[in-house]
């Protein structure tokens, strides 16, 4: 039954191939193949999950070897898949949530959303989404770093393709390019880390690397560098500081893309990478701390950005960045189960929120500016209630899924900080403060969109709830956003930690102990208090409107402008990085490309022309000349034999 893992990987690939090669597929067929292939993959993932449940703790994994891929001297690499609790969890998320989003997309993408410069947008969308799911699964299921990198690059590619889906829009094309370039920086980090692994351990498959990771000097330079390089990759892929600016721009893509790739799955790949590489990170506390701090700073940084933004999708993008930063905190304090737990729950409610945003956009004729919305509660009741569930989940309302996972993370930081790692108090503090900020900006969004007076009645005139194909997935995710967290209550029955322990204890490690963290009531109460305070602030300003939002903004105009312009980070990058590169590139072009490379190529062509002009003289056109040439050759042959040379 564990062999079903191949089905998980190959069904979406088949879906991609069919959707791509069969140019004349009609819309309904595409709508079945796209989500259908992912559904089949989900079934297979469930099968693998069940199989794992049936195994004992010590043997709760399966190394599925496919075929020998490379053999060079001592280096040997097979194409294989790793089925363990971590990869099973990730594959279930990818296929399950992916399936729901694809069903949603069959409704959302029909109609004007598919109209692009190409005529077959609907089919192209689903084939690219299938490709994405395939590469994402390859990333999480691979049993070695090389194929993980292949999946890594693959999701980068499909992300580029899907962000630039509306390729006749210059802004979309720019955003796609930006995402890809930043991702490549991450790819570089990951690649160099893999090179290091090859040099240090002689192989890049998990077994080899993880069994030998603890032989390197603890907290030494080498292992820390490896951790940091992996982190570069994770930061780029997960849109954390400082490589995050591509994520808000990525909202140029269709909303289902934003839901799947830039919320639930691809951007979580960085978290997966750190969690998977735990033997390496355990060996370097400095590396772990770096991860935690990037998470902690990132979470509050992104929350601030969400506070002053007016674009519904971009606010959700910043919230994604912030929540992923929470996951980084979780894995950074070496409580990997907390990070993965939040990853799971986040997938539910973030996908739900994006679906809701898509419904709102569809109702408001693609309008993104929340300042033009308002009063949509009465017009879109279904969307209203599901969106509310999502908001409650994300801020960590007790009982909802986000509550359990976020408390898991924050509590983990508290526990580590109080048990011998005091520097982590900063991390904990930032995480708690951000919980409050999250409540503020999420409810700001909620109130501005759904409550109050409609600020643009003309736009909202024909607003209505979306069609069933979109509503059903939203409903499913809403349910999951409520009950999904009950599977594991940290401190009471930490099911997530137990589930992942079989993976986390497979290899010998040093560093922070990988045991369930104790329940921390102090942290819980403080977090809830801050969250409630945040909700009340948002209630006061954006619902009761006293003081009104405009007055609040005018109270600190400089700060407000700073935040509204996204801290001017984009401009900073443009100045420090982009422009020098462009200058260097054009200089190289002028002095190297044109004068040297082009000159060489032109010279080669000229040489050929010159020589052929000289040799053309021999082609006189006269038969007798040619006959003479033949005779000449015959004479040479005769001479060769008759003068003894040929003996």
């Amino acid at each position: 039954m564990q062999h079903l893992i191949w089905g998980v990987l190959l069904f979406p690939l088949a879906g991609f191939v069919v959707n791509t090669l069969w140019q004349r597929l009609r819309g309904d067929a595409v709508a079945w193949i796209g989500p259908g292939s992912v559904f089949l993959a989900f079934i297979c993932a469930l099968g693998c999950f069940a199989w794992l449940q049936g195994q004992s703790e010590a043997t709760r994994y399966a190394d599925e070897i496919g075929w020998r891929w490379a053999l060079a001297g001592q280096f040997r690499l097979d194409f294989g898949l790793q089925l363990d609790t971590l990869s099973s969890t990730m594959s279930l998320i990818v296929t399950g949530v992916g399936f729901l989003i694809l069903v949603y997309a069959t409704g959302y993408m029909s109609g004007e959303h598919s109209f692009t410069a190409g005529r077959d947008g609907y089919r192209r969308f689903f084939s690219q989404m299938d490709l994405f799911i395939f590469t994402m699964l390859l990333l999480v299921l691979a049993d070695n770093y090389l194929w993980l990198l292949v999946g890594w690059a693959g999701v980068g590619l499909t992300s580029y393709l899907l962000i630039g889906f509306y390729f006749d829009r210059p802004s979309a094309v720019k955003a796609a390019r930006k995402a890809f370039v930043m991702n490549v920086i991450g790819d570089w980090g990951l690649m160099v880390a893999i090179f290091m692994m090859f040099i240090l351990f002689g192989g890049v498959d998990f077994r080899t690397v993880f069994s030998h990771a603890h032989t390197l000097p603890f907290n030494g330079t080498v292992i820390t560098v490896m951790c940091l390089l992996l982190l570069v990759g994770a930061v780029a892929k997960s849109a954390q500081l400082p490589l995050y600016t591509w994520l808000p721009d990525a909202m140029e893509g269709p909303t289902p893309v934003s839901a799947l790739i830039h919320a639930a799955t691809m951007v979580t790949a960085g978290v997966y990478l750190v969690a998977r590489s735990y033997p390496i990170y355990q060996q370097s506390p400095i590396g772990l701390h770096t991860v935690a701090f990037i998470g902690a700073i990132g979470t509050i940084f992104a929350a601030g950005l969400g506070l002053a933004n007016n674009d519904i999708k971009r606010i959700l993008a910043y919230s994604t960045m912030s929540q992923i930063a929470y996951m980084f905190v979780g894995v950074g304090v070496a409580v990997y189960s907390a990070g993965i737990f939040h990853l799971l729950e986040h997938a539910f409610f973030k996908a739900l929120l994006f679906m809701g945003a898509g419904a709102v956009m569809q109702a408001m004729h693609e309008e993104l500016d929340i300042q033009k919305m308002g009063g949509l509660k009465s017009r879109l009741p279904f969307t209203y209630w599901t969106f509310l569930i999502g908001v409650l989940a994300i801020i960590g309302t007790p009982g909802f899924s986000g509550f359990f996972s976020k408390e898991d993370v924050i509590g983990a930081a508290y526990a580590r900080a109080s048990h011998g790692d005091p520097v982590l108090w900063i991390v904990w503090a930032l995480a708690v403060i951000t919980a409050g900020l999250t409540a503020i900006y999420m409810f700001r969004l909620f109130f501005l969109v759904f409550h109050g007076q409609s600020r643009d009645p003309g736009l909202a005139a024909h607003a209505h709830d979306p069609q069933p194909s979109m509503r059903i997935p939203m409903a499913v995710l809403a349910v999951l956003s409520v009950v999904g967290g009950w599977i594991s209550i940290p401190g009471v029955y930490n099911e997530m930690e137990a589930w992942l322990s079989s993976t986390l204890h497979r290899y010998p490690v040093r560093g922070p102990a990988l045991v369930p963290q104790p329940f921390e009531p102090v942290s819980l109460i403080l977090t809830l208090a801050v969250t409630l305070a945040g909700f009340l602030v948002a209630w006061q300003i954006y619902y009761r409107r006293s003081p009104s939002p405009q007055r609040v903004a005018s109270m600190a105009p400089g700060l407000y402008r700073f935040m509204a312009h996204r801290y001017y980070v984009d401009e900073l990058y443009e100045l420090l990085i982009v422009r020098p590169i462009k200058v260097a590139a054009s200089a190289l072009n002028r002095f190297f490309e044109l004068d040297f490379v082009d000159a060489t190529v032109d010279f080669a062509a000229a040489a050929v022309t010159w020589s052929s002009r000289r040799m053309r003289v021999a082609q006189t056109g006269y038969v007798r000349n040619y006959a003479l040439a033949i005779l000449f050759g015959a004479v040479l042959l005769v001479g060769y034999y008759f003068t003894g040379l040929g003996r």
Binding site: T620, G621, V623, R624, A627, L628, L631
Partner: protein
Amino acid sequence: MTPGPEHFLVLSAILFSLGTLGVLVRRDPLIMFMSIELMLNSVNLTFVTFSHYLSSADGQMFVFIIITVAAAEVVVGLALIVSIFQTRHAVDVDELDEMRG
């Protein structure tokens, strides 16, 4: 002196060289063609010589084939010459220089 194989072979060589010169030096295509026939015949003589002095039938067989092929070649070649030069007034092989360059 009594003619032996070498005499026949030298005669054959002389005829062959004459034929070669004819092909290279003359401009009338028909004369060129006939020079080629002369070359073929010199080779025939060589073959028959060897057949006789080595007491083997192979040489004569070859001659048989050569004669047949030469006949076929003459037929086709003359047809070609006729069709090329039919429309021209001068019969000069040097006028066929379209393949120049």
